[in-house]
Symmetry: C2
Subunit: 214 residues, 2 copies
């Protein structure tokens, strides 16, 4: 398998964790989001990923886009170890946590959005960072209120074994800390993050451990 | 079943289509996103949905959030008719289309974001509408380039039977038209939309057909 990835991309980070958890080796192909106007926007890359986004996973003659669709594909084609619980209600819980991060928090804070705020709307760096923190904090507040009262939470978001929820949570916390959000204000999220980061599959997927890390 | 919904909410609209396609009757509970500061933000509603978002689906003693997690749950508990193909590669394609809309387009254009632009950043209505159109157009352009060359596309995004991709596409087109985006510029998207809107399950899920329609 081949993963087109950028070390700091949260969506790439999710898929790297999933591949590691499932013990699937892959070739890492760096796509630099900032260099030469964005390598993800070239015509050549867009043949693999029409959206011009990372990650893209190539599995034999199959080319896959969108991190959570890729993770569901891996789950269906390489079911062990599972990244979703067996019970449909538990699966819905895990997917809802993943999607709260992937649909409500992350899209507002990714690179192309922050760029639009500065270049098109003329926002100052301060206003841009305020935007960033606003959506992270709003999202983490509701996520914390949910996880702190959720009986399914163990060492991780669902019991003690990693699921799709954790592989969305960890990159989002990493990202928040990079923007100086005080994640200690969200003790359940912070505790899950700390525990997950100690696991080999998560540690090897971390931005700093990638070949294109700066 | 009970669906907490707002007639114009795209995420609610997705779940309404899924429930109709699967022939599942439900009680409609309107949650007015604009009235009295937003009924979705009350402490009472947040017990059902910590994020303060619609929709919420209550199925017996189970309470579910996040539209695509809800749809996957319905698919797993009421498999007929299927809203995902059988083959994992086809499923990944359908989910990627759904998520391109749900993760890349919709989150940037929902009510709370548009409000932040106006109330916190002081954007004019013109700049706000420019923002809205920018993300819709960027997203629809790549979606159109994908669908127009995709061999799986039939009358709908995957062959001729409705899938999760269509139930994300239709509300997003409806929403775009409300904001005066010329969707005829995206002929494949427009054609799928027109065909889907003629199907009973989609027509009954349309915003104008809901009890809280204004």
């Amino acid at each position: 398998m081949k993963l087109y990835s950028y070390f700091r991309s949260s969506a790439s980070y999710r898929v790297r964790i999933a591949l590691n958890l499932k013990g699937l080796p892959y070739e890492y192909v760096p796509v630099h989001l900032l260099r030469s106007g964005g390598e993800q926007l070239t015509a050549q890359y867009r043949k693999l990923n029409p959206d011009g986004l990372v990650p893209t996973l190539v599995d034999g003659d199959v080319t896959l886009q969108q991190s959570l669709a890729i993770v569901e594909y891996l789950e269906e084609t390489r079911p062990e170890p599972p990244l979703l619980p067996r019970d449909p209600v538990d699966r819905a819980y895990v997917r809802a946590v993943a999607q709260q991060i992937a649909c409500e928090i992350h899209p507002l804070d990714n690179l192309r959005v922050l760029r639009y705020l500065v270049h098109e709307l003329g926002l100052s760096d301060e206003a841009k960072n305020g935007w960033y923190r606003h959506w992270i904090e709003a999202g983490f507040e509701t996520l914390e209120s949910r996880l702190s009262t959720e009986r399914r939470v163990g060492k991780l978001a669902f019991g003690d074994e990693p699921t799709v929820a954790d592989l969305c949570l960890v990159p989002q916390v990493f990202n928040a800390q990079r923007f100086k959000v005080d994640t200690a204000r969200y003790p359940t999220i912070q505790r899950i993050y700390d525990y997950a980061c100690g696991l080999d599959a998560f540690a090897r997927a971390a931005p700093g451990a990638q070949p294109d890390a700066e």
